[in-house]
Symmetry: D3
Subunit: 229 residues, 6 copies
């Protein structure tokens, strides 16, 4: 099985980290192809970056047939609906995958993301997926996406502090990390705080494998019908 994992921003170091995280959890026989568009924003921080990454993102999917499922490795689930229209294969967003898995482990989860400017887009997705009622709060650590790539940053400590507030104030029973760049922090935070901490990248790999094994594909009726022209 081949999974096309698309980092919709152009930061190759992040693509590599995402690819490595995906490979660590992929089943034997699953090949991870981690790619990013050649052009577009270096990080997806808000609605405008999302919009400007779409042409590059969809260009990496359209017309190809050498994969079994697509993962969009941006926590905003950038372009998820459009991507579902251009391929018959399953397409998963890492936000969506993490939300659904958290909902099967906990009565309530909270999200800890990067900047406050990304919070409305994440809340918008949760509302639409139906899962806002399962979410205590979408919290911002105010750490820019690319600072997560800096080994000298104290990002993990600041994310951990926000996570502690989620446990107390939101009664969160699980935490979803709200950025593909946090993929390497989940296990440490889970051990420190004693609750499930979900990273969307690995959740999406597991969900993609699940859909492919069951032979399930995106519906072609209604909203995800292929483009008419």
């Amino acid at each position: 099985m081949r999974l096309l994992v698309i980092n919709p921003n152009t930061t190759a170091a992040m693509t590599e980290k995402i690819g490595a995280a995906a490979r660590r959890v992929a089943s034997p026989g699953t090949e991870i192809v981690a790619v990013n568009p050649a052009h577009g924003p270096a990080a997806i921080e808000g609605y405008y970056d999302e919009a400007m990454s779409l042409a590059g993102l969809l260009g990496l999917i359209r017309g190809r047939d050498d994969f079994d499922a697509v993962i969009i490795a941006c926590f905003d689930d950038t372009g998820l609906d459009a991507a579902r229209c251009v391929t018959e294969k399953p397409v998963l967003g890492i936000g969506e995958a993490a939300f659904h898995m958290a909902a099967m482990l906990a009565n309530r989860f909270s999200v800890v993301t990067t900047l406050g400017r990304s919070v409305p887009a994440i809340e918008h997705n949760l509302t639409r997926y139906g899962l806002m009622a399962r979410c205590g709060r979408v919290r911002a650590s105010e750490i820019p996406v690319l600072e997560l790539e800096d080994p000298a940053s104290d990002a993990c400590a600041r994310i951990g502090a926000e996570l502690g507030r989620a446990i107390i104030d939101d009664r969160a029973e699980a935490i979803v990390l709200g950025c593909a760049g946090m993929t390497d922090l989940a296990q440490r935070l889970s051990e420190t705080h004693g609750l499930p901490v979900l990273d969307g990248v690995v959740c999406a790999v597991a969900q993609a494998e699940a859909l492919v094994r069951l032979g399930l594909t995106t519906s072609r009726l209604g909203g995800y019908a292929p483009p008419r022209r």
Copy 2:
């Protein structure tokens, strides 16, 4: 006052029709500049077309300062959030404008749009705006967007039939027409069926004038903050 009215598809005849409709309701002293991108889909029929129109659409806004407000003249409110990040001026979607106005005229409204494939995107918007509870049903007439440009089409009759079902089955007290290309049908349908029939293009012109007169602009705090880079 200058309003930039963007038809995000590339069909110039439709841009012209939209511009004319906007001019008919604009106040004296309001100039309507109706434009469309040079490249992109000829009609917006579903999520993929929406995504592919964004770069062109945002390119028409970004870096310009010669207008007082922007109207996105596609009923899906394509790119509305992203557009709000790239200009300090108010930005209105025609779907949004019509929903809010219908909510001030009727206890419940229904939407009559073009193809069934566009229904989920419209429902998604209504859910997010908070107005799904005010909407009886989003109905598809199964008329493609460009057929609305064909004078020989029986589109108006078919839309009228769907509208009649909305009155009976949904208890709709008002109707929102779900496509910029239906802008010339609203008055006739309203007279025939005896209830308010709202076209998003003229609603958005009126809302844009309202915001500009009050000196209100999009919030720069949170989700609509300008792009960081």
Copy 3:
């Protein structure tokens, strides 16, 4: 165009302030007729005052035909539904108008009103309009309505403090001022706090002009049908 602006309480100084605010934003050619009932409560502070103002309020509308739209200038949108049954002209509440406009400028808004006793009625309206999900919190400054008429009051500072909490704690991107008597504070608060601050009186004037220009009137089907007897 003539707009009938009704302050449903009997405090003439407040009617005057409301009328002046309305005139400042009215378009050339729009005449503002600001009135209040001769009898009834001096301020609308809660459900009972609302109820006791209705006969006077509706008496100012019923049977008249010398206006193009009606504005009910009480933030509780007192008698809005009943008023829509007794005139064919559009009727707008100032709460409603401000909520809908805030929803086109910000992902989330909070309301700052007068007394805590008015909060449930405002929440009730937001729930019913569908816009509760867009509202962070309805906050009370605990300033009585008529204290807003006292130039020596520190009302503006106390409202500003509440507004600051809304930005931090509710992640509000815009603020709606929850009393017609606050109409003169909006601009100052907006400049100080750097976000849109909406006053319902001016929002309703702009919305009334918008509806009148488009020739839209309240639906006569269903809940707003004229009284049978």
Copy 4:
């Protein structure tokens, strides 16, 4: 125990029927005082009638202390909030009482009311009480209120037909009759259709007795605080 049962319309025959129904279910020792205002609408059919009945309705409560609880015997729960502000005694609406009791007997109920014009006000109440999700549909039999007082009418048959549709189409497990004037039809319809059919008048009597026996009274904190002046 003395229960003040207020029919907010001025039709004495209906007040009498309501009083008789209340007495049939009242406990020994409970006195029913059924009254109606001297002036106001002869039937409450929509928002305007509701508004015009309020002054009379509240005048029957304010300043009196010779009762233990108040019942507002109009299915729209006319003036319920305002009434709670002017007495320390419990106040119940017949709509509210029936909805809450139906919710303890069935997974889902439907409402069968008089005219379509009353449907939005009932839906509005259900939404606000939180019980819309428990309601399949609010159905109109299109029988005017006063026709229910006419012994020659086929009202019961028409209501029964609507009730049958509610069982099939809405999967209703119980029915709430949506008008005080239907109080004498409940038992017959329940026997014919084999499911609980609730009349608000008797439900409110039972709820009022329950509150009085437990010594519970309306909260004075927040929205139901007594009027300030």
Copy 5:
């Protein structure tokens, strides 16, 4: 009238306290039969205890006909749906009864329960009943159920402190006590804090009497149909 009041845990002292509370509010002529299963958990603290009490609980109802209504005296409304399938008589949960009564006395109520582990089950019930929107917050005092039976405990003070926070932070206008073992604290807390404090046991007695007097029984259509075998 005979009411079967079932404490689904096996702690006889608690059954006795519940029975005594029920008797204090029962009408003359109402007999309270308070029982508990012979086997099962000593306290219901969370989902597992709920499940393990069901066989005992249902065994106390099934096949008996010597009562007029059943009360399940556990705030989680343990087994309420199943119990409704095995008897034609009305069945009430004490949580449900208290929520519905609080909703007729206050715009918003909060719940103060025992342990945090019980909060999700209570929220789950509120969501399903439709009343979550009426509830400010479900708060845990972190007092184990059986400590409520210990006269030396400072439980009342700790519950009172939580109740004070509900008034300030949640704008609660009424409080629902979230455990059958708190039945003796309601009046004292109500007097101290000046708002309605509802205990589910007495609410359920009053509701059961109300249903029996009106001759209303659980629907046999749909979800509460008797078991097929």
Copy 6:
């Protein structure tokens, strides 16, 4: 990896069919242990059967440590919450698993189940999971559970007819089959009707493998904490 698949009813033929379906989709190296309780209802058709199966169901989980995850193979997700309290391993309901997967393939899905009496329990789960908004309608085919085991039955045709109505009337883009006993019909119905048809048994196997591979386990904070005694 060893998955404990529990059919909570006592019909061994159904357990076998469920086990076979699970094995067909399990990954190499995954062992399926399909079991059912020795005592309890022969089919789970409504709330009472659910309750009566719990002791047997939980007895199959408690105190064992020879599995990596548990699947509850009843579409009502019988005992799911309680089961999560008695094991550290992930526990999945087949209803839940199918709903979450359908939500990643389609904008809207409908459910086709067995008897109408099971519909409220399924709706109750959807509401609580947050996914009711994604579901068009829960439809009953009125086929009893055990008839699905009868090869001479025309069950598949009747389920197919209901499925066709879901596509037209609900605008369903995917179908979830609402009974473990329908596990062998999914593929045929999917091919006939041209949309994804999801069976909960295979969905739960794939989800269980996903959770185990990622090392994720049920939260021990809050509602799923282990029993205190």
